[in-house]
Every structure is written in C-alpha cells, then in structure tokens.
Symmetry: C2
Subunit: 380 residues, 2 copies
C-alpha cells in the first residue's frame, strides 16, 4: 500500500485571514472569537458525549438541551433538534411525514438540496411559477394553482416547501401568503431558512410555518456541518418518532446528529446571532449602498429591488467588455480584486457574479466599493 | 423574547486536558496536533467550499478527492465518500440498495445505530445468534441459518450486516466467514467498522466486504461528526446514484455531506492512522496487560479472551462490595479515580464498567493499573 501523505500536511487557508471574503455562502458562517474558543475545548471526537445519558439533544453539560429550547424561542417554534445542516433537516421532514410518491410543492427558486432531498425520499415534486427577468420573484398564488391542479388529478400532496431566501437572487419570499395557502389547504409547510435564520429575524408562529430548516454554517456563525430542524408540536410524533428497538433514539436523527464541535460552535455563537438579527436593517443599508454605488459602473442588479437580503447578484456586461481586451481575459477581475485583498468572487466570471458584504464594517464596505470602482474605471 | 445566553459563555472541558481519559468511545478520536492546526484554518462555516466546483468529494484544494482515493487504498475498497459518521454510512447503503420491507440480517452484538438505520429506511431485520456468557461471540454459522430461514419463508433479504468490533464486549467478529456466507448466498455485505477502521488494519477486498462504514470521531482521530462510506465498485450505480434535477449531486449524500472541519481533521490525521494501525499489536499488549493485572483484584473480563481489541469490559463484584460500606456508596470509584487524574469511567457504576487504554503510553498504562490497584487494596 503506497500512500503519500505529504499532501495532507500543513494545509492552509488564507481567504479569511488575509482577505475580505465576499462569498455569500461564507459571510454568514464566519465564527466569532467565542466560538473559536469553544472549539479548543471540544475538538476531540465524541467529546460532546462526556455526560451523555443517551441522546444529544438532552445533554446538560454542555447545555445543549437548554440551547435547543432557547433556539425554539429564537425561531418562534415549539421543538428544535440539531442536524447536520438545512438539507438534512428537510430530508428528515420529508422522510417522516410523506409517503413514497407524494408530491412536494415547492418554489421555482428552490435550492438544489430541496430536490435532492425529495429524490432521496422517493417523492415527486411540482414547481411553482416565479416572476420574470430581472426580478424572479416567487409568486405565492402559484402555490394555490399547483395545489388545485394536483388535487384535481388525484395526486397526494405531502408537503409545501418554500425557500425563504433563495441563493440565486437573494429574494425574500412572502412567507405569510404561502403559509396561509398551505394552512387553508391543510398541508404541512416547511420553510427553508438556510439563508435567513441567523441573519434576519424569524417568527415561525407568526408565519404559519410548521417546520424550519436552518443552516449553522451558512447563516448562523457556526462551523460546518451543522444545522437545526425546528418543528411545530403538532408534528412531533411523526418527525421525532423513536426506535422500537432502542426507545430513546429518534429515527430521523439516527439517534444523534451533530455529535461534535459544529453544534458547540453554534451554541457559542448564539449570543451574537441574537444581537445581529436585530441589526438586519443596517446590513440592508450596506447592501443597498453597494448596489447604488456600483450600478452606475455598468453593473445591473438582478432580483428584487431594493435589496431585502445581503446576497447581491450583478449582471456585468462591463466586465465582459474589459475581458475582450485585457490580456488576462476573464481572469482580470479576480486578479485585480485579489491584488486588493478581496476574495470570494468566482474566478474567471465576467457575465455576472454574486457577492455579499454581510457583517463587514462600513469602512470595509467603502473599501470594497472603491476598489471595484477603481478596477473598472482604470481598465474600461 | 427572553433568552439568557450567559450559560453559553466560557464553556470548558477539562477531561482531555487534565485527566487521562479511559472512555472507549473517546480514546480513538483524540486529535493529533496536525489536526488541531488544520482546524484553525477551516473553522469558519463552509470554508471547505472555497474552490468547490459542485461536489465535496471532488474538491482539489484542500485535496479531498485524493484523500478519498487514498482512503480506499487504506481500507482495501474501490470508492470512498465522506459521511457524517458510521450510522449515516449504514443508512445510505440501506436506503439505496434495499427495498421497503426487505430484511437486514445482522449480528446479535450490533450497535443500536444499525437498528435505527434499519427502522429509518423502513426495513425489517433478523438478528443472528451470539455465544453465551461470558464471551458473547458472534456465531458466523448463524448467518447461514437465518438466511435459509428467511428464504424458506419467502422474505426478501436486502443486506447482510456485521459489526466488526462491537462496543459492548469489544469482540472482533470473524469477518471472513460471514463474508463467505454472504457471497455464497449472493447478498451484499456491509461491515460496520466504527470501532475498527483507524485502529486496526482492514482489507475489505480480502474480507469479501461490499461496504465499509467507518467513524472518524470514534476511531480515526477526527473531530465529530464525520465518517466514511467505502464501497465495492459493483454497487456504485445504486449507492451513488445522482440526481435527475442536478446531475452531479449524489442522492444519498444529499449533494455534499461533511462540508466543514470534521473531514479536514480526518485528512490531517491520516498519516497518524497509517502509522498507528501498524502498531495494533502493541495496543493489544497494553490492553492484555491491564486485564492480567486487574483481574486478580476481583475484576472479571467479559468478552473474548485474550483481548483482540482495546475495549475492556470488566464485571466488578469487588466494587459492589466496597460500595456497600463506603459512605460515598457507588460513587467512590469515580471519585477516587478522579482524585488521581483518571476520567471517562461512568459515574456511579459498581457492577461493571468499560475502559480502554488505547493510545496511552506504557507509563500511563502502568499508572492506570497501579491507581486501580491502590484504590481497591486501600478500600477493600
């Protein structure tokens, strides 16, 4: 057996330490110092199980059980469990409350993981309509139409799924409207909060939500992989059904899920999350400023306007123009950003790109704006 | 919303730093320094995705793809994927290759997570016989009997599962024999290596194994939660089936699994794993020494003898006797061990306990033995 392990030595990552990272999937998952400290304590495998008496969500030292209760309050839900991430939360719901072949009605902006969870759970789906270019808004009324259509053709509907904030355009969906439709039609309603819970305030009760799938690493300042599943008490017996062989263990959790540092990092970040969702307006101000300052350069913001989320998607014909004549071709933008300490924008893109300034200081935001202005103005 | 976050501040764990930890579920998951270093680099959420082009197992920076190929060599298998742990690996196999209602034939020493995975996948099970007290060995021939019985009653068998090393007695099962039975009967064969892969040498090919479920946090010096699923190429299409909606994403992985530091800690520990499985004999020597030295005190080792694994289960009537007269009752042993810097033995146990000296130095092992001797001799 010849294995050269040299390549696994001294692996480093400079993006977060030396650069301002503009990648929307990473900005919400940057750890505060408190969470880094807890990682020192719990990095060994199965360390969280020191005082376990049979189930992760009931551990008192460290206080995981209280944390989950507090998280339920934070999200306006009844019961919360740790999971490995939002996709795993969605799958746990689908696999428990739906029967093989059932239909999931979901928004046209849904994340790929919603489809993968549907397929893994052997379900079908019906996609609702979204609005046209350049806004691509979820159309709540389309849920009613699709539900009627499926009912008319005698299809069994197992779940209504809505992506609270989609990752393509960063549009914030009208949850209350979809929730009302789901409720009036009598179907369970899951909200995918991977891009919202931990960034913006959420009240599941007020929104008529039965399930919330949240992502620790995407939006809750936690290490990957981890997430939460918050449910309405009404579905406790189905979703949290326990084993017949080992009666304390929950089937959909396979006993215990996030048995290690990711859930602890989320716990340590909780205070910051409570603080930061209160300042969501300030994040939107920064985001809108970026859009207002960069559009005159020849960028066009896609998705709803003004921004109600920090994800910004720009169409960038001006980058395309510059790439035509720059000897670095499409890579000039990445290179120029990198030279200025800016990272997280996909290498080689010229048609369009996504970015976020979530959590950056105003000074950093101004630096980002001015750097992009300088790059474009010098090279155009 | 009233949430007091004080309890989530300054959470510490002293067990690993200030004590010698004798907990068998934790000794194999202690991180070497290299792995702690990589955690500093990758603790932010989704950091592993910096250079992802669509799938975790194909990421080149850090070299996850090469790592998985090397892991296949290490385990003697064809294809390896990261998972969240051994239970998640087992479930992925069951959910993909079995049909609802199929039977899983598994050993009588199987871990609870095998049952939970079976129930979650909506399968049935048939448990094979194990030998009598005090050895409780898995009886390979029982697999043939149970398979015949199920076939005679027209039950569909979906999978043969064997626990390589069980967590109750630390018995090492005769994999080759069970593998031959599975092969001759034509059924797929899964080996649960949660307590073996990363501790002792394993060659899946030689053992006639189709699937290996491994645990990073239990036996591979990795942070929790993470594990591996290694498969025989024959089952690639079924187990690693990709989505019809997003054709690059594997259904059973829900796209990507261990998207964070756990898989990186496993990668950084890999060199140590290669070294340590070569020294498995030395671990057995230490383990056998503990048994030989402590049995004369009034401890009785349960499970196969001499030990072929580091898990030691002692029946301890002598502790029971002492507890009768000690004013601390059953807690005296825990307290006395703690006073000597020894932890990881369940608090309050007197009838029996489990321990492991895996990875400890000879000096530490002697200290453990002498401490236990002193406690018993002083208090008996």
């Amino acid at each position: 057996m010849e294995i050269n392990t040299d390549k696994y030595k001294n692996i480093t990552r400079n993006l977060e330490r030396e650069m301002i990272n503009l990648n929307p999937i990473q900005r919400g998952g940057i750890l505060p110092t408190e969470s880094k400290k807890i990682i020192y304590e719990y990095w060994d495998g199965y360390s969280v199980c020191d005082y376990c008496s049979g189930r992760l969500d009931r551990i008192e030292t460290p206080p995981i059980n209280e944390f989950l209760e507090d998280m339920s309050k934070f999200l306006g839900m009844d019961i919360t469990r740790p999971t490995h991430g939002a996709r795993e939360s969605k799958y746990a719901v689908m696999n428990s409350i739906c029967k093989e072949g059932d239909y999931v009605v979901l928004d046209g902006n849904a994340h790929y993981t919603s489809y993968v969870a549907i397929e893994r759970a052997k379900l079908n789906y019906e996609k609702t309509d979204i609005g046209e270019y350049p806004t691509f808004r979820v159309i709540p009324e389309s849920y009613a139409e699709k539900i009627d259509m499926l009912e008319d053709s005698k299809k069994n509907i197992g779940l209504i799924l809505l992506t609270h904030v989609d990752g393509n355009y960063g549009n914030v969906a009208d949850v209350e409207k979809v929730g009302k439709i789901a409720k009036s039609k009598g179907y369970p309603f899951l909200l995918n909060c991977a891009y919202s819970a931990g960034r913006m305030p959420i009240d599941g009760k007020k929104l008529n939500v039965d399930f919330i799938a949240a992502s620790g690493h995407k939006s809750m300042a936690a290490s990957g992989p981890c997430g939460l599943l918050s449910i309405n008490k009404k579905y406790e017996d189905e979703v949290l059904e326990t084993s017949k062989v080992n009666v304390v263990k929950e089937l959909q959790m396979l006993g215990c899920t996030s048995r290690g540092i990711p859930i602890l990092s989320l716990m340590a970040s909780f205070e910051r999350l409570i603080e930061r969702v209160k300042k969501w307006d300030l994040e939107l101000e920064k985001t809108r400023k970026v859009v207002n300052e960069l559009e005159p350069l020849g960028f066009k913001q896609i998705g709803e306007k003004p921004r109600n989320h920090d994800i910004i998607r720009f169409e960038t014909p001006i980058l395309d123009e510059i790439a035509e004549k720059d000897k670095r071709r499409g890579f000039f933008f990445y290179e120029e950003l990198k030279r200025r300490g800016l990272g997280g924008i996909r290498r080689g893109v010229t048609k369009e790109f996504k970015m976020s300034v979530y959590g950056l200081t105003n000074t950093q935001v101004d630096y980002v704006i001015n750097s992009m202005k300088t790059i474009i103005n010098e090279l155009r």
